[in-house]
Symmetry: C2
Subunit: 314 residues, 2 copies
């Protein structure tokens, strides 16, 4: 694959993607239909690059910044691109209208990945001439700190498209996972949703406070999960591996699952109680400051993981 990387949609997600590709040495051409969004882009990029530099995650922010160009038209982002990352507003009609513009402009070697976090590609690329070259490439925000991306092909996406997207994502330092069959929420949000469901239910039933449920993860379960997944965790948690673990604990987990067969919405009163406990820990006016703290901690963790992996050769 040769050619630049196009970015269509230059909000928070698109800006993050521009950094990912430029950091890996690609020329990046960014388009957004909204002038205000484009006007905010240089500030977003400079702030993020300065933070990355300060955390030791990049050494030359100016060189990265110089690889990112704003273009005036959709065609300017698309023409000659090897890959285009689309990150426009998450609504099916908005995405479909855009892909109707993209489809006739698409050059022969160009793939398009959508940052959609929930709408499957079949919903907005179905029936198009180049549907074989469209797929979901769903990042976690910000993608330059959280490397996983979900590759979710539609039934029309070709295997070659998935393979090339995987190769590109690996080359730019992301960690691609392949999701088959367009499950609702893909897999990342389904896994998060499962944990949240139990967390909300435990709180609702009075078994623990919001803060204590959070601590159970942040000082317990989340430690291992920051460097190995749930299957590897249980594989290492019984002398004979995952089969041994399943024999010992499968029954317990089945019993627990059987307590949760009647999903309930997060109703107004429950949301108000969770919110009250969160606002007691973190006042509303501090949400933004705490978000910046989270990003600093993610940067420090990324630097730590890189060092640990280099040391281990993993």
């Amino acid at each position: 694959m040769t050619g630049h990387i196009g970015i269509v949609g230059a909000g928070l997600v698109g800006a993050g993607w521009a950094i990912v590709f430029a950091r890996a040495g690609h020329d990046v051409r960014v388009f957004d239909g909204a002038e205000a969004t484009l006007a905010a882009l240089p500030g977003r990029l400079d702030t993020a690059l300065a933070d990355l530099k300060q955390s030791g995650l990049i050494s030359d922010p100016a060189a990265i910044r110089n690889r990112i160009t704003i273009v005036e038209t959709l065609g300017g982002a698309l023409a000659g691109a090897q890959y285009v990352q689309e990150s426009v507003f998450e609504r099916t009609d908005v995405k479909r209208a855009l892909y109707e513009q993209i489809d006739p402009l698409l050059g022969p070697g160009t793939l398009v990945g959508s940052s959609s976090s929930g709408i499957p590609a079949s919903a907005f690329t179905g029936g198009m001439a180049h549907a074989d070259r469209y797929l979901i490439v769903h990042p976690v925000n910000p993608p330059y700190l959280v490397p996983v991306v979900e590759l979710v092909p539609s039934p029309a996406t070709s295997e070659a498209t998935v393979a090339q997207a995987r190769e590109l994502m690996t080359q730019v330092g992301q960690v691609p996972v392949h999701v088959r069959g367009e499950p609702q929420g893909f897999i990342l949000n389904r896994l998060q949703g499962a944990l949240l469901r139990e967390a909300w239910a435990l709180f609702e039933e009075g078994h623990a406070s919001v803060a204590d449920i959070d601590k159970t993860v942040s000082h317990g379960l989340g430690l291992r999960w920051s460097f190995m997944g749930p299957f590897e965790t249980i594989d290492l948690n019984a002398p004979g591996g995952v089969r041994d673990y399943a024999e010992r604990l499968g029954g317990l987990y089945l019993d627990i699952a059987r307590d949760r067969t009647d999903p309930q919405p997060w109703n107004e009163e429950l949301v108000a109680r969770v919110e009250a406990e969160r606002r007691a820990c973190l006042p509303e006016q501090d949400l933004q400051t705490r978000g910046a703290w989270r990003d600093r901690r993610l940067m420090a963790l990324a630097a730590h993981k890189t060092a640990a992996e280099q040391k281990d050769g993993t």
Copy 2:
């Protein structure tokens, strides 16, 4: 609270606890009914302390080691203790038989916490004279690297016992959470079970491989969860906090939950398929080596978190 810390049950879990208490400056007296277990203890302690020293997590392993004494009788561990951590085999009859021995020996100021990961305290302390001073104090292994502990009182446990156990755990550097109502699996394993349930189902349905589900956590969800819990994560993931998040995404999560109303056992064929994918990543003969790798990574993560928290003042 004054007096030493008693440890009853000196296997992997009990040895880990001995280090936690001795590291915090307590005198620790360890008893185990099995001579072979006691004979293995010094080796276990020395290995763990050497690893902690090498990771920079402790500075004087000999001083810690010298605070840990093996005693010959149950009474030797109990007499004059402020707190006893019980970590015997996880079977109700084994635990009940032990508490029947403990109960008449218990001094007036002594509390007993059980490391039970699933059996509630009411099942083996119910009806005893000192049931008000028994509770579950469930660690994650090894407790000197993973700080969360679940405090799970039985209906007979006094509030003063819970408060004192919380204070002691905080003082020795653990992070206590208070679990009410003895839910099956307490809260840590329920949260883990919820994530596992979705992970196994996604694999069973062919949506992703075991390795890709693991990567979704270890390079995605698990990063944030290693320093903030699921509620704080969503509270910071919408501009208006958790209420705003619930309004935006509550519907999606409810839909996802509605796909999972029919819990199924991890059947033989499914376990075999998961096992085959794990053994392709990690041959059986490497399980132990990988367990040692996990512990090194946990140590490096603990050192990283301590440094990050000191820098942030969090």
